[in-house]
């Protein structure tokens, strides 16, 4: 593990009012690593990755992303965010723009890339998620799976160092889950650093370098997929796995 760290969280705690949402989280994500975070709902998985691009504020501890510490008074948050891609459960595409424009907006408006250049990049990544033919449609004209792939392409157009996935397949019809997972697997194969919150254990087994299990705001267990699925150490992990692998 000699690759440089892209995300470093040290002793991170977060409260929503009285509720202790994240408790003393320590996690390092290194370049090229693929990490899957799982756990029951309300365990703080989404909250944690939303802290990594400061969509949420943490109150204690340090989070350092690409060498920049995240805190409430930082002035270069845009630079950090444009370097950290995020894919949401509900896609959050911009419905008033075409698919192509969704992908061009970030590079043009944040990075100052020329329109011609942005269009080229957008088409490249739309090609990569295998929907270049939908470029001039509006998001609502696409299926859920296609929309999520556009959202992935939109993030990739910013050429981020790390991609965060916040339950990217949870809002999809079963048929469309695999097309999104395939896209993500392709990304992983190309060496993208990824942190995925997901319940897709097959994906975790196939792609992850490390699986992290969270419960009640804490990291309960982490390990390689083989160790995690083969020999879970904690009772809570065993219970969780038995529940979700039952079907």
């Amino acid at each position: 593990m000699s690759a440089p760290a892209i995300i470093e969280a040290k002793a991170v705690s977060k409260w929503y009012g009285q509720f202790h949402a994240l408790k003393d989280i320590n996690l390092t994500v290194r370049r090229g690593e693929r990490i899957v975070i799982c756990g029951p709902s309300g365990s703080g998985k989404s909250t944690l990755i939303r802290c990594f691009n400061r969509l949420e504020a943490h109150q204690e501890g340090d989070i350092v992303v690409s060498g920049v510490a995240l805190h409430g008074k930082m002035t270069n948050v845009a630079a950090v965010r444009s370097n950290v891609g995020m894919v949401f459960q509900h896609f959050n595409l911009f419905p008033h723009m075409t698919v192509l424009m969704n992908c061009m907006a970030g590079p043009m408006w944040v990075k100052g890339v020329s329109e011609k250049e942005a269009r080229k990049t957008a088409l490249t990544f739309l090609e990569r998620v295998r929907i270049p033919e939908q470029a001039n449609k509006f998001p609502i004209q696409l299926s859920g799976g296609q929309q999520q792939r556009v959202a992935i392409a939109r993030s990739l157009c910013m050429k981020p160092d790390v991609m965060l996935f916040d339950e990217p397949t949870s809002a999809l019809d079963p048929e469309m889950v695999s097309e999104v997972l395939e896209t993500m697997t392709g990304l992983a194969r190309d060496g993208m650093t990824m942190v995925c919150v997901t319940h897709e254990m097959g994906f975790a087994r196939a792609v992850a370098d490390r699986v992290i299990f969270m419960d009640a705001g804490q990291i309960v267990e982490e390990g390689t997929p083989d160790a995690f699925f083969g020999h879970p150490r904690h009772d809570r992990t065993k219970l969780f796995l038995s529940q979700i692998l039952k079907h």
């Binding site: 444009s82 911009f94 723009m97 609502i140």
Partner: protein, 324 residues
Amino acid sequence: MLYPDTVEAEILVHKPWFVATMFGVVLLLFMAFNMSGTSFAELMRPVIGEPSVSGLYGRFAIAFVIAVIFTLNVVLIGFAPLKFQIGIVWLELLLLFIAFFETFHLSLPFIREKLPFLISQGVVTTLYVSAISIVIASVIAVAGAVAKLSSNGFAYAIASFYTSFFRGLPLLMQVYLIYLGLPQLGFVINAVPAGILALSLCYGAYMTEIFRSGIQSIDRGQWEASRSMGFGFALTMRRIILPQALPVIIPPTGNQFISMLKDSSLVSVIGVWELMFLARTLGQKTFQHMEMLISAAMIYWMLSICLELIQSRIERHYHRSKVR
């Protein structure tokens, strides 16, 4: 349109009970009025004889014929396709309207003589005052809405004080206060700028609330997506939030524009020669008030219709990204 059911209900105006009730109501209504002095009664002369001496029979016959025509008309329109129904009903209401004005015996030559001035001076001033006020009010509304949604205490306090004050006073009073009050502070202000200022401030306050609710109606995921790509506040607002809020904002804003066009008549009280002022003064000398008032009314109406058309055009434009 409301979300239509796939099962067609029987058409109301073809239901026997409805037709019968409608017929009965119209019959009784026209029985209650004495129609024997009207030109319609003259048309009935072959049936009822001299209308003024036809008595109860005459009244009944007239009301009966009117009720038959009315009911037949409604039932027949019920068969037409939607577009035709709308067109025919509009046309009929318009004809009734014209017939109503006919009874005033307006002097058309007088109208024809004054109309050019009414338009070249009155309409132009009205449009000029409203158009400038609309632009200023929209700018105020965006700024006000952002201020009311901000976490900056000063901005919120100023914006909420402003909307509270200018929504709380009658517009007429604001016009007077600005025109008569500002000179007391040393700013001598002409009637037209005073009127524009009053209209802008008042409508800016109403539209602030419209814009605020429009901005708030946008899903918070849009903010998160914008933020996660590194968009700043101004960029997110201008490129992501406002364009999506516009379809929500436009119908009530169209209302405000139409309302403002008509409320611009209030600046006539400080002597601006706009449509309302001229309508009141042009007919005064010869006591032909009605001619000018009705002409001005029609002009206001036509201008409003133009705004309605523009509004529906814009709504259609924004409907584009919602079509599957």
